[in-house]
């Protein structure tokens, strides 16, 4: 974490005038925290809260906040979403409805009706369906002015070099680069697999909702993997179960311990 957050933490601690029994423990923490590259858990939390309050993290739907290491989309970061366009659109929902703009480059097939149903403010969504050979320059231009840029996989357009350049541009401009599919060097990776669909019967009914297993990984703050089961359906996005430790994906259907927390 940044040196600023550590300094802040120690400033707060020193202002509290701790009792003598805690003093040695605290000074040990402070000593550790003063090492470069080491941050305390409360320091991380405080920085995240601070970043959200100052607008350095774009908000996401409450159900998705737990998935992301910053409780939202940190400006300057690169997020890769594998296997679900819906989840990607759901990530845009809260930010676009609170005034941020989003752009989609090189994804001609994005379903706008689905975007609206997931809560995206479609009037603040710009589409560049066919950038062609100018994918990199168009994406770079969008990163200059648009908060959230969704790009198709860069593989067809120039590979790892382009991907790194664009990620650096996003970092520099304070935009969030989201990719549909793999993105070399992404900070956060969300992998989704649909587990089960409900609503369809033999010849009648409608597709109603689905359960999706999401696995979050990545670098830095997102290095600790989190696995979650989400319900995408008529009630928006709902967290079905969070499982940060268990290595296997939660099995489909109704897990006995699954507590249903409706947030979205």
């Amino acid at each position: 974490m940044s040196g600023g957050s550590v300094a802040e933490l120690s400033a707060v601690r020193s202002g509290e005038a701790p009792e003598s029994s805690e003093l040695s423990e605290l000074s040990a923490v402070a000593r550790l925290a003063s090492l470069p590259g080491v941050s305390t858990a409360s320091g991380v939390a405080a920085t995240a809260v601070h970043a959200q309050a100052t607008g350095r993290v774009l908000p996401v739907l409450p159900a998705l906040a737990g998935l992301l290491p910053w409780g939202g989309l940190r400006r300057g970061s690169t997020v890769a979403v594998h296997g679900s366009t819906s989840l990607l659109l759901a990530l845009l929902a809260e930010a676009t409805s609170s005034g941020s703009w989003a752009a989609v480059v090189g994804v001609p097939r994005v379903g706008l009706s689905a975007a609206r149903e997931l809560g995206v403010e479609v009037s603040r969504l710009a589409l560049v369906p066919r950038p062609g050979a100018d994918f990199a320059s168009a994406t770079a231009a969008l990163l200059d002015g648009v908060d959230l840029v969704v790009a198709g996989p860069p593989g067809r357009f120039g590979g790892t070099q382009t991907a790194r350049r664009l990620a650096a541009r996003a970092r520099h401009r304070g935009a969030v680069l989201l990719s549909l599919g793999p993105w070399p060097g992404a900070e956060v990776e969300l992998r989704c697999a649909p587990v089960s669909w409900s609503g369809l019967e033999e010849g009648h009914g409608y597709l109603r909702e689905r359960e999706v297993a999401v696995e979050v990984g990545g670098r830095g703050a997102a290095a600790r993997p989190v696995r979650t089961s989400l319900l995408l359906g008529p009630d928006g996005v709902v967290v079905r179960a969070v499982d940060p430790v268990r290595p296997a994906l939660p099995s489909g259907g109704a897990a006995p311990s699954a507590e249903e927390v409706k947030v979205g």
Binding site: G111, S123, E201, L207, E209
Partner: protein
Amino acid sequence: MTAPVLSRPPRMLVLWCPDWPVVAAGAAAGLPAHLPAAVFAANRVVACSAIARAAGVRRDMRRREAQSRCPELAVFAEDPDRDARLFEPVVAAVEQLVVGVEAVRPGLVAVPVSGAAGYFGGEDTLVELLVDHVSGETGVECQIGVSDGLFAATLAAHRSLLVEAGTGASFLASLSVTELDQPGSERAELVDLLRRLGLRTLGAFAALSERDVVARFGSVGVLAHRLANGQDERPPHRRRPPPELFVTETFDPPLERIDVAAFMAKTLAGRFHSGLAARGLACTRLGIYATTERGEELSRVWRCAEPLTPEGIADRVRWQFEGWLRAGDGQRPTAGVSELRLEPGETVEGRSLQLGLWQGGDGGEHTPEADRAARALVHVQGLLGPDSVFTAVVEGGRGPAERFRLVPWGDQRTPSEGHDAPWPEQLPAPSPATVFEERVPVVVSGAAGVEVSVTDRHRLTGRPQRVAIDGGAPRRVLGWAGPWPVLARWWMPEAKTRVRMQVVLEGMSGSRSDIALLLEWQAKRSPLWTVEGMYD
């Protein structure tokens, strides 16, 4: 007449294209002129062609009634932009013969008559010449009227009359007071009131004293009273081609790098803008023309919804250079740019540059985020061309792809009528997050591998059991729902029966993810089934 005659308004010639909205809509749609057509706004006839009128269609008629009187009526939506765009050649044709042309509204051009009539040898000759020239150049039928003042000349044009000088007021006096209600004047209420008061002719209205008119009808009444008197509502503002507003710059050595071009663009844009501002103008259409050292001509016209600021002009010039100098092989100019010319294609009065006092008054967003995004999107348009960046506008429709219309950035975003109406064959949420533009063929097979089709009564011929996507291995069907027939536009001759079905397919061996698809079946087509969308 009690009102003091202030001054005789200048003698005007008005060239009027009858039913211009219909003519423009028909021309844009490629509809032959002998078919009846009408333009509608809010379900009411705004304008109709002469043939439709002969069939009994009138202005302000409801669409249903108009269509019942004239079933083969071609229906167009009102589009002032289209009218204006197609009218431009007509104005240009008039401008070739006469100077000081003022386009009053699409379909109506006014010209001060005195100078031109003297040059061409009389008003009759001028009228004849103009009618020939305009129809020869643009193929548009028009009528011409000449009288004192714009209002009288417009009414004269409706009747193809040449009113003698000085008899404008007496020409008007016998006409009905309803003539005051010209399109765009919004005097319907006043005219209605005058009629109920027993003032049936313009002459009767003009005979009232101006003082009484002010007391009873307010400022709207005074303007109408001036018109009825043969006065002008306002002095004409002449549209002049302003060649002195062009800005040309030659570069030695030629510009080959974008950063140099961007620097030059800034100073050039400042000069261009101040030249316009000195005349109280601002530019809404900017033409950028460049000549390279080897004589290649590059040009691009930028049209903007809002008048351009100096920064906006500089940005566009810079982006245009980026577009030109960074183009792919074969499209890139072979030499540096040696001459650059900026032309104001369309100007508006400079006060339109004033920002609204209240945010959001003009419908658009003006948050810092929106402004930044707008700049970035225009930049991308400079790189890829204007038809590369879109925003979506809600449109009524049944299929997942039909519910939004993509509008190029910078164009007006007006949702179409009926977008919030209930669309009966819409599938409920969720919609597919991936909508395929190209149709991916699938084979739906039932028991014993027989392909499943749809009967005339929209029933499946068998239970779908396996689906093979795009020639791949067949996957087992875990669940399916439908078929739902799409009966939209069944009255069109080229309409074909279509049917939608949702299926959930088992994942391929190894991957555990099931996929859900929206399939579409269409009669007498190969392949019968295609993937319309994927719920991913």
